[in-house]
Structure formats: C-alpha cells, structure tokens
Symmetry: C2
C-alpha cells in the first residue's frame, strides 16, 4: 500500500504537526549556531550529547517513573534505530525475539534486518500473552513490547502480565525492549508507569523512548535507557552502525527539554488531543451509522475501529487513500501469515483537525456501504 500523506485526515502515527513550536525551536537552534566558543561539530560523545542525556534523565524520572542516570542513556535517531541497536548488540544471527502480534511493523522490520528471527506472540486485553511466548519461543533472547499502549490495539499491559514477563526474562536470561512511544497521552486516567519502573536489580528492561510522537518524527530523535552492564555494547553498536545524531539537534533538544519546554508542550498537546479525540468519537457516533465500533481508546494518538462482518480492511484502506483519508488496515499489523487476522481500521487523530473528522467519517462510511 502506498504511504499515506501526512496531511490527510486520520493518518495514524503522527502528532499535531500544526502545533509544533516552530518559532521557539528555531530560536533555540539559532542560539546553538551563535554560541561561542565554537560548538563541537565533530563526531561527538559516543553515547550522545551529555546535557541532552541529563535533561532526559530528569524528565523520565518525573514523567515516567524511570529513575536512571545519564550514563545509562544512549541517544538514537528514533525508536526504530534504538530497536536496531539493541538487536545488533544483544542477539546473534538467527536468535529468536518475541514481537507482539499484532504489533509495531517498523520495529519488526528492524529486527529482521538486524538478523533476528522475530516470533509473533499473541496479544489480548491484558497485553502480550506471556504464556503464549513461553510456548512458542521459551529460549528467546529479547522480547519487544509496548506495555503502556500496545501498538496497534491500544491496550495497557496488566500488572500481572508485567510481572510474568519480568519473571520469564530472569529465568531465560533474556532482555525486554520496552517501547514507550506515546504513553504520555492518556485521557481517562493518569498515565501508567513504565515497565522499566518495575525493573529491579537484575536489569532486564531496555526502555525505548522517542520524540517522534511528543514533538515530530521529522526531528529523528529517540533514546534508550539500559542497565549498566549493557551500555558499552549498545554504545559500540551505535557508533559502529552509525546511529549518531546531529549535534545541532542534540544541543537544541537539550535546551528544549532542560528548560521545561517539553513538559509545557506535552500539556498543551494533551489538551489538543483530548479535543480531537472527542471530535473523532463524536463523528463516529453521529456519522458512522453503526458501521464502526470502538472497543478501547483511552491512550495515544489513534484508535482502532472494528468493521462490519464481511468487510475486508485492506481494500477499504486502499479506497480510503484514494479519497485522501490516511487510515491503515488492522490486519496489516499481524506478523504471522498463517494466523487469524482481525479486521479493523487505525484512525489517527493527532494530526487531524477536529473540523475534518465528520467529513472523513462520512466518506469512510460511504465506502463501507
């Protein structure tokens, strides 16, 4: 399927690009270029710019319950790159890795490119099914999960499952990649703490964060937080595989986060997303004619709608894109070709203005009919 245009309504995976703080960011970046003595434009710190790691450590402790030191953070060009780095550093060619099924397709591609054998593990209302993982690949080296907001289903992993996952990792001497991509946006209760916050002295969890959903994917800025014992290996891979991040970007992000602008931006964005999400839910109710149902939608920047029986999500999404609506088919996120694929549509509301929701839902429903 062709890529959705980011300007189309309901394209998932995008934050509000119309709310990005362009002027402020430009001002901070201008400061970098004017700063004297000359800023360092050489290869830079092999783990990433220290002031940025300091700012992130402070933010993560306060916002996500992830208590860490700057020396445990590695700056990356995004969450996908962080997955690549972890896979290259921690798995041998052909070693098995649990991935959620359905799951984050881009991370799946990263793992395969890094030479890992990705095994799809089922997901239910409590998140990743750890028993299913133990059955399919008890000896896996890594498990890739999105506990705060499972992608794409949107469920939050239960505490029992979190503990079961950590228990398996300890037994199997495996590591957990926690993708915490848009956990800050939760609408009906407080954000769930990160799985990393439960990670005890064994240090099983590598936490992956990104500014792609908090600010904009076009910045290309992410990071991982790892147990002390893994940092050297991750840093070596980051530099060997050239996942370094431009210095002007790192310095500007350090100023932005360190001076509290990220917190402010998240608060403003959350108000905006609350409004956009309400507009989408209301449009589905008023214009959907009962064709679309929404099982859960309490976190993140998209929701998953179920379709009437006999309605195939793939041709529907193709037809929607021809009408410039950026929905994606749920069945496309299943990694296991043989298993049952649930049908549905992912609808992003992060980058869609409230006034565009009704028209988009009307068009979609006319296509379904």
């Amino acid at each position: 399927m062709s890529m959705a245009n980011p300007a189309w309504p309901l394209t998932p995976g995008l934050p509000a690009l119309d709310a990005f703080p362009y002027a402020l960011w430009g001002r901070l970046e201008g400061r970098f270029w004017r700063r004297r003595p000359t800023p360092d434009l050489s290869y830079g710190d092999p783990q990433g710019f220290l002031p940025l790691r300091e700012a992130l450590a402070e933010y993560l402790g306060a916002a996500r319950g992830v208590v860490c030191h700057p020396h445990q953070i590695v700056i990356t060009p995004g969450a996908q790159a962080a997955v690549s780095i972890a896979a290259l550093a921690l798995t041998d060619i052909g070693e098995r890795v649990w991935v959620e099924n359905p799951g984050y397709d881009a991370a799946y591609r990263c793992l395969v490119l890094a030479g890992a054998a990705a095994v799809g593990i089922s997901v239910d209302a409590e998140g990743l099914d750890v028993d299913d993982g133990r059955n399919r690949a008890p000896d896996a080296r890594l498990a890739m999960v999105s506990p705060s907001h499972q992608y794409p289903m949107g469920v939050t992993m239960s505490l029992a499952r979190r503990l079961a996952l950590l228990e398996w990792a300890n037994e199997a001497n495996a590591f957990i990649l926690e993708d915490d991509y848009d956990s800050e946006f939760r609408y009906e209760c407080a954000p769930a703490p990160a799985l990393k916050a439960l990670d005890g002295g064994n240090g099983r969890v590598i936490y992956i964060g990104t500014l792609s959903k908090l600010l904009a994917p076009g910045l290309r800025l992410g990071f991982l937080v790892a147990p002390d014992g893994l940092i050297d290996a991750l840093r070596t891979v980051r530099n060997g595989a050239d996942y370094r991040v431009p210095m002007p970007l790192q310095a500007t992000a350090a100023d932005f986060i360190g001076n509290g602008h990220l917190g402010t931006h998240i608060r403003r964005s959350k108000a905006l997303y609350t409004e956009r999400r309400a507009a989408l839910l209301s449009a589905i109710k008023s214009e959907g004619g009962g064709l679309l149902t929404v099982p859960t939608a309490s976190t993140g920047l998209h929701l998953v709608t179920e379709l009437p029986e006999q309605c195939d999500d793939q041709p529907l999404a193709v037809a929607a894109r021809e009408r410039q609506i950026g929905v994606t088919p749920l069945s496309g996120y299943f990694v296991d070709a043989s298993g049952t694929k649930r049908q549905g549509l992912l609808m992003g509301f992060g980058n869609t203005r409230s006034e565009s929701m009704k028209g988009a839902i009307q068009t979609l429903c006319s296509l379904i009919e």
Copy 2:
C-alpha cells in the same frame, strides 16, 4: 586506544571546524523554521528530501564527474550509514565483501555488524590489488574501495586497476562501493574523477559521499548514488533500519548546496588546507630530525608518516595522546590479524592551525627518541 579529542593537533578525520560557516548555516536553518506553510516534520520522503537530492545531483555532475538523476540518490546520516545500508540491502548473512587492507576501520565495523564477512585485500601504490581480491574471494558480493584517496595510505587508484575492478564486478555479478570521502582536496593536480564516472550501462558502482569532510561530521549527512535497479532495495533498508535524516538538516543542506555555498566553502577550505599541509610538511622537515618520512601526501586531510625501524606505532600513539596530540597508528588500520602490518602515524592537518604544527612535531619526535 581512547578517542582523540577533536581539539588536539594532528587528529585525523576532521575538516577545519574553525572554518565552518556557522553564521551562514544558522541563517539558512532559521529560514527553515520561519518558512510558511509549515514545513513537513513528518517522516519525509523515503529516499530523502527531493530538493537536497536535486542539489547534490547537480553538484556531483559538476565537481566529481558523476552524472546522475536525483531519483538515483538516497540521503543517509553519513558515509558509514551508507555502507550499512548497502551491505544490508545487497549481501546475505555471511557473504564475502572485499575491504582494503589497510582500510577504513569504521566501514569495516559497519560491514561486520550488517552480517557480511569482510576479507582484507592488499593495497599497493596503484590502490586496491584486484588480483589479490580475485585470489582471496573471487565470489565476493561487494568490494569497498576508496579510489580517489585510499584510506589511510593516500594513494590514488590507477586507471588500469579501476578498469580491472569493474571487469571483475561484471564477471562476478558483484557491486562496488566507492567511498569518495575527501576527494575534493588534492593539492598537486586536479582532483581525479570518481570511479563511478567510468561505470557504464552495467551499473556496478554505488557511489558514497559525505559532508563530514567537506563541512563537519557533527552534521551527520551523507548520501549514496546507485544504479536504477538497486534504488528500491536501498530505500527499503534505509527506512526499515531507520537511517532517515532530520528534515531541518536536509532542508538547510539543500539551500546551502543549491545556492552555491558548498562550492565556495570547498574553495576556501582548500586554500586553508594547502596552507596547513605546507606548515605540517615544513614542520616535519625542520623539526623532524630525519625521524619522520612522508611517502605521499597529495590528497585529503591527513598524511601518513613512516617511522624509524624498531619504533612501534601503537605505544607511540598512546604516548602522543597523553600529550594531547591526536595522531593514530597506521598498524591499527590493518584488518588481517595475521599479515604484516606497516608501522606509521596518521597526522591530520584539516583541523590543526598552522602555528601548532611545529610544537606538535617537536613533541612527537621527543617521544620517538
């Protein structure tokens, strides 16, 4: 060995960071943030920002004899990333790749991380020894070469060798990765045209360029130019492995190159490097006491000096770094642990002021004695 500090004299691999056009770059980047309608901060074109690819195509045709279309260019975060992308796209796990021995250590690490089996091929005064390659690994899938300025030895590949390399690639159905990293800086004659300029209809050469040596490594901007038939595979890997480049950087670089600033900067830099190189050669002559000899130094941003017999380059380089001199040992660039390793020192003059040369050479010679 610990990393050299970029501020130390004689550190190789760095352009003149003191001559980077900070004010101009900052002005162009400021324009990006002020531009309306809102610039696109989503994931962007899967091959890289089109205006940047257009500007590069024009520059490469004029400056390097590489005639190509923007649709043959893929933007990457640097030359190393371009090597990773090519290796992931074109080789299967364990397939053999020719690398120059001695050669570019960072590219070697990239290839190994991507799962390729790197085979060191000897280098002489004409560049890579194609016959040695045919003997050691006739069935290799890729050959990684730096024909304009072999790294680290500095030799230029002869025309006969270039033709022999292309002939082998055609016979073996292999591809050539041409690393053209600092070919613009040649002091005693005009720059040699790229190997890619000899690549006929068969399309065997993937040309890799970087702004790390032309501008600054801290920008993290490179690119590759590939035959039409390989573009889809390279683009897929670029996005799958997350080697995308920040949009503000791509847009600013497009303005910088498209408006002729890169050409101007290269002309100015070349005058500066001519002066710095002369100062280093003169310091070696006046302060070296016959201990250091320079076989060739007509291209690039560093030169290789030979050492007296019985002088081991590794402990010498360690001692030099303790005195804050950033030279690196030649023997460290040999990939084959069993073969003979020539001894010598790489001395960068790109980021070293002329007035610092004498003192650095005096210190080095006192260490040798």
